[in-house]
C-alpha cells in the first residue's frame, strides 16, 4: 500500500515538474505578457488608477549621470498622471546594449532606452527601434526638431529616417592644468595645434613632466583623424579609410612622441583611468576627456590645489571631434498606447529645461540651441567658462560611423595602434593596412 502511494506521489510530482518546464520553454510571449501585466497592476495599485500606462526606461552609468536621469524621470512622473515611467540602471553602454538585445529577443524589452550613438545603425537596421519621423512631423510645433544642435543630429538618422532624440551628448575636449603650464613658463592658453603640442611637450619634458597621458581610445583616434581631414570609413560604409595618410598620421604622431618620451601612452584595460590619474596627480599637464567630466574635473582641481581650464582639442589641418554619448530611442514591439507614452516621455526628457538641468548637473552638452539663449546658461557660462568649450567645439563635430561591423572594426583599429606604438618593428602604415584589409572584409558582408 505504502509503495503504491509513493509511486502515485512520484508520478504527480513528475507531471508538475514537466508542466513547469514546458511552460518555461514555450513561452517568450507568455513570460513577457505576465511581466507587463504585473508591472501594470503594480503601478495601478500604487496610484489607485487602473488607466495609468506603465513603461520601463533603461539607462546606463551611475553617479552624477544616474542622479540626473533619475531626477528627470521623477519630474516627468510628477508632471502628469497618465504615464508612470520606471527607470532601471543597466551598467555601462556595452552592458546596456547586450541586455536590451536579449530582452528584445525574449519579447520583454523596455519601451525606452539610452542608446550609445554609434550603435544606432545596427539597432535600427535590425528592426528593434521605432521610427520617429511620423511622430516628429505630427508634433513638429512642440518638438522643434531644428532647435537641436545640428552637430548632434548626425547619429539620430539612419538611412534618412529619424530614430533618436539627442539626450546626454558629449564631445572630447582638452583639459588643462593651468598652474603647471604657468610654472613651466608656457602660455596657459594651451597648444592650439599639433606642432604647438609638441613644443609644449618638449618644454614640459625638461621639467620632468609629461605634456599628456593619452590612452589608445577610439574616440580620441577618431578626433585626430577628423583633425587631419580624414574619415574612418567611406561615405557608403563599404570601405575602410583609416589606412589613408590622414588615418596613419595620428598613429605616427603618437608613436613618435611616445618614443621620444614626450607623451605617455598607457595600454591595457585601465589605460583611461591611468590617464585621468596622471592628470589629477599633476604628472601630465593635459588630457583628452569627455565633456561629461567637467563637473568632476573642477572638483579634482580644487581638491588638489591647481587651476584648471578647458579648450578645443588641438588642430592639425583644422579642428575636429567626434560626438559621443547617448540618445533616447523607443523599441518597436509596443502597443500604440505604449508608443505614445514613450514618445511623450522622450519629448519631456529632451526639452530645453531638461537639457539645461542635465548640463549643469553633469557637464554633458546642452542639446538645444534655445538653451544657449537662456539667461540661466549665459550666467552659468560666465561663471564657469570650462563648460562652454564643448558647445563651441560642436561647430567642428562629425558623426561617428554607424555600420553594423563597427564595434569589431574598433577592436581591429585599437589593436593595430597599440601594435604600432609598442612594437618598434611595426610601422604605423603596416599596422593600419593590415587592420584595414580585415575591416574591408567585414564591411563587404
Amino acid at each position: 500500500m505504502n509503495r503504491r502511494w509513493m509511486a502515485v506521489l512520484l508520478a504527480v510530482s513528475l507531471t508538475v515538474v514537466l508542466a513547469a518546464c514546458g511552460g518555461g520553454g514555450s513561452g517568450e510571449g507568455s513570460a513577457g505578457g505576465t511581466q507587463a501585466s504585473g508591472a501594470k497592476s503594480q503601478g495601478g495599485a500604487a496610484d489607485n488608477d487602473k488607466d495609468k500606462i506603465v513603461i520601463r526606461y533603461w539607462y546606463a552609468f551611475g553617479d552624477k549621470i544616474e542622479e540626473a536621469k533619475q531626477e528627470l524621470v521623477r519630474r516627468f512622473n510628477e508632471s502628469q498622471d497618465r504615464i508612470e515611467v520606471i527607470a532601471e540602471h543597466q551598467g555601462n553602454y556595452d552592458d546596456l546594449h547586450a541586455k536590451v538585445q536579449a530582452a528584445f529577443a525574449a519579447g520583454n524589452a523596455p519601451a525606452v532606452t539610452d542608446l550609445e550613438i554609434a550603435s544606432t545603425g545596427m539597432f535600427a537596421r535590425s528592426g528593434m527601434l521605432l521610427e520617429l519621423t511620423p511622430y516628429a512631423e505630427r508634433d513638429a510645433e512642440a518638438l522643434k526638431l531644428d532647435d537641436f544642435n545640428p552637430g548632434l543630429m548626425g547619429n539620430a538618422y539612419v538611412d534618412a529616417k529619424l530614430y533618436g532624440l539627442p539626450f546626454m551628448r558629449s564631445t572630447p575636449i582638452m583639459y588643462k592644468n593651468v598652474t603647471m603650464l604657468k610654472e613651466a613658463g608656457l602660455d596657459p592658453e594651451g597648444p592650439r595645434n599639433w606642432e604647438e603640442l609638441e613644443q609644449y611637450a618638449r618644454v614640459l619634458k625638461e621639467k620632468g613632466k609629461y605634456a599628456m597621458t593619452v590612452p589608445v581610445d577610439i574616440w580620441f583616434y577618431e578626433a585626430l583623424v577628423f583633425q587631419s581631414g580624414g574619415r574612418i570609413l567611406s561615405e557608403d560604409g563599404k570601405k575602410a579609410l583609416f589606412n589613408s595618410p590622414e588615418g596613419v598620421e595620428p598613429v605616427a604622431f603618437w608613436k613618435r612622441l611616445a618614443e621620444e618620451g614626450l607623451i605617455k601612452i598607457p595600454v591595457g584595460d585601465d589605460a583611461g583611468a591611468a590617464a585621468d590619474k596622471d592628470w589629477a596627480n599633476q604628472i601630465s599637464a593635459l588630457r583628452f576627456a569627455s565633456t561629461a567630466g567637467v563637473s568632476a574635473a573642477i572638483e579634482i582641481a580644487e581638491g588638489n590645489g591647481f587651476e584648471m581650464s578647458t579648450s578645443f582639442m588641438p588642430a592639425n589641418r583644422d579642428y575636429g571631434v567626434p560626438t559621443g554619448g547617448c540618445q533616447l530611442v523607443i523599441t518597436s514591439k509596443l502597443t500604440d498606447e505604449e508608443k505614445e507614452a514613450a514618445w511623450e516621455f522622450i519629448k519631456f526628457m529632451t526639452t530645453t529645461e531638461s537639457t539645461i538641468y542635465q548640463h549643469k548637473h553633469v557637464g554633458y552638452l546642452p542639446t538645444r540651441l534655445s538653451a544657449l539663449e537662456t539667461d540661466e546658461l549665459k550666467a552659468h557660462f560666465a561663471e564657469y567658462p570650462q563648460y562652454k568649450v564643448a558647445v563651441d567645439q560642436l561647430a567642428y563635430a562629425n558623426p561617428r560611423p554607424m555600420e553594423n561591423a563597427y564595434p569589431e572594426i574598433v577592436m581591429l583599429i585599437k589593436n593595430a595602434i597599440e601594435k604600432a606604438i609598442l612594437n618598434p618593428k611595426v610601422s604605423p602604415q603596416e599596422a593600419m593596412d593590415e587592420a584595414a584589409a580585415k575591416a574591408d572584409k567585414l564591411l563587404a558582408k
Partner: protein, 291 residues
C-alpha cells in the same frame, strides 16, 4: 501490474534529473551546434544557413589562433604552478599544530573570495605607477614591471592571480590525500630506513597519484574556461595578449553580436574540454593507484 510499476520505478526516479539535465545541458549544447552553422545577430527573425563558413573563417583568423595559443599557454602555466607549489606546501603543512592550521586556513581563504573582488584587488596591486607590487620590487632594487599593461607580462600576471586563488584549495586536497595514506606503510618504510626522497618517490607519490591526477584535470578544465579575471583586468589586451577562448566567445557573442561565429568557437571549446574530460575518465577507469 506491480511488476510493471517496479520496472518503471527507476525511470521515474531519474526522470526529474534527466529532464533538468536535458533542458539545461543537452538542449543548449544542441542549439549551440545548430547556431554554429548559421549567421545570426540575436534579434533578426532570419538565421542564415552558412554551412561550415563560421569554422572556416575562424580557423583562418590569426587572432583566433593566437587566442588558442594564449589559452594553452595560460593553462599549462597555471596547472604546473598551481599543483607544483601546492604539493610541497601540503607536505610541509601536513602536521598538527596551531601554526600549521593557521597557515592552512590563510592560504585557503582566497578560494572563498569572489573572483571579481580578487580581480579588482590584483589590478590595484599590479598598477604600474601606484601598485604595491612595484613598490616591493623597488625595495629590492628591481626596476618596475608594467604587469598587465605589457603584452609580454600580461598573461603571466593573470597566471599569478589564478595560482594565488587556487593554491589553498589544491593544498587542502593534497593534505587530504596525504592523510589517507595508511600510517603503517610509512612506518614500514621508516623501519627499512628508506631515505626521505625515496619514501616520497616510491611511496608517497604513487599513493597520491589519484589526488594529483584529479587536481591536474580539474585545474586544466578550469583554466581553459578562465573568464572573470580577463574580463575585469585586461579585456583581452594589450594587443590580444590575454585574449582566451571564453573571453573571445563572449566578445563575439555579446559585443559584436555574431552569435553564429561565437557558437562555432563554443563548439571548439566543447571539443577541447570534452577531450580532456574523456582522457580523465579513461585513465581513471584504468586506476592509477595501488589499493
Amino acid at each position: 501490474m506491480p511488476s510493471i510499476l517496479n520496472r518503471l520505478r527507476p525511470y521515474a526516479m531519474v526522470a526529474p534529473a534527466l529532464v533538468v539535465f536535458s533542458l539545461f545541458y543537452l538542449y543548449p549544447i544542441g542549439y549551440m551546434i545548430h547556431l554554429s552553422f548559421h549567421e545570426w545577430n540575436f534579434i533578426s527573425p532570419v538565421k542564415t544557413y552558412v554551412g561550415l563558413n563560421n569554422y572556416r573563417e575562424m580557423l583562418a583568423d590569426d587572432t583566433f589562433l593566437q587566442v588558442l595559443r594564449n589559452s594553452a599557454l595560460y593553462t599549462v602555466m597555471t596547472v604546473l604552478l598551481a599543483t607544483g607549489t601546492a604539493l610541497p606546501l601540503a607536505i610541509w603543512l601536513n602536521r598538527k599544530s596551531a601554526f600549521h592550521a593557521f597557515v592552512q586556513g590563510a592560504i585557503f581563504s582566497p578560494h572563498i573570495i569572489s573572483l571579481v573582488s580578487i580581480s579588482l584587488l590584483w589590478s590595484w596591486l599590479m598598477d604600474p605607477e601606484y601598485g604595491l607590487l612595484n613598490g616591493l620590487l623597488h625595495l629590492f632594487g628591481i626596476s618596475p614591471l608594467k604587469w598587465l599593461n605589457d603584452p609580454g607580462t600580461a598573461l603571466v600576471s593573470l597566471v599569478i592571480v589564478a595560482v594565488w586563488k587556487s593554491l589553498g584549495y589544491n593544498t587542502l586536497v593534497f593534505i587530504a590525500g596525504l592523510q589517507s595514506i595508511p600510517p603503517e606503510l610509512l612506518e614500514a618504510a621508516a623501519l627499512d630506513r628508506s631515505k626521505p626522497w625515496t619514501t616520497f618517490r616510491r611511496l608517497i607519490l604513487p599513493m597520491l597519484s589519484p589526488t594529483l591526477f584529479f587536481l591536474v584535470i580539474i585545474n586544466l578544465i578550469g583554466s581553459f574556461q578562465v573568464f572573470e579575471t580577463i574580463a575585469i583586468m585586461t579585456q583581452g589586451g594589450p594587443i590580444n595578449s590575454t585574449n582566451t577562448l571564453v573571453y573571445y566567445i563572449y566578445e563575439y557573442g555579446f559585443r559584436f553580436f555574431k552569435i553564429g561565429y561565437a557558437s562555432a568557437a563554443g563548439v571548439i571549446l566543447l571539443i577541447i574540454v570534452g577531450t580532456l574530460t574523456l582522457i580523465y575518465f579513461r585513465l581513471l577507469s584504468r586506476r592509477v593507484h595501488y589499493r
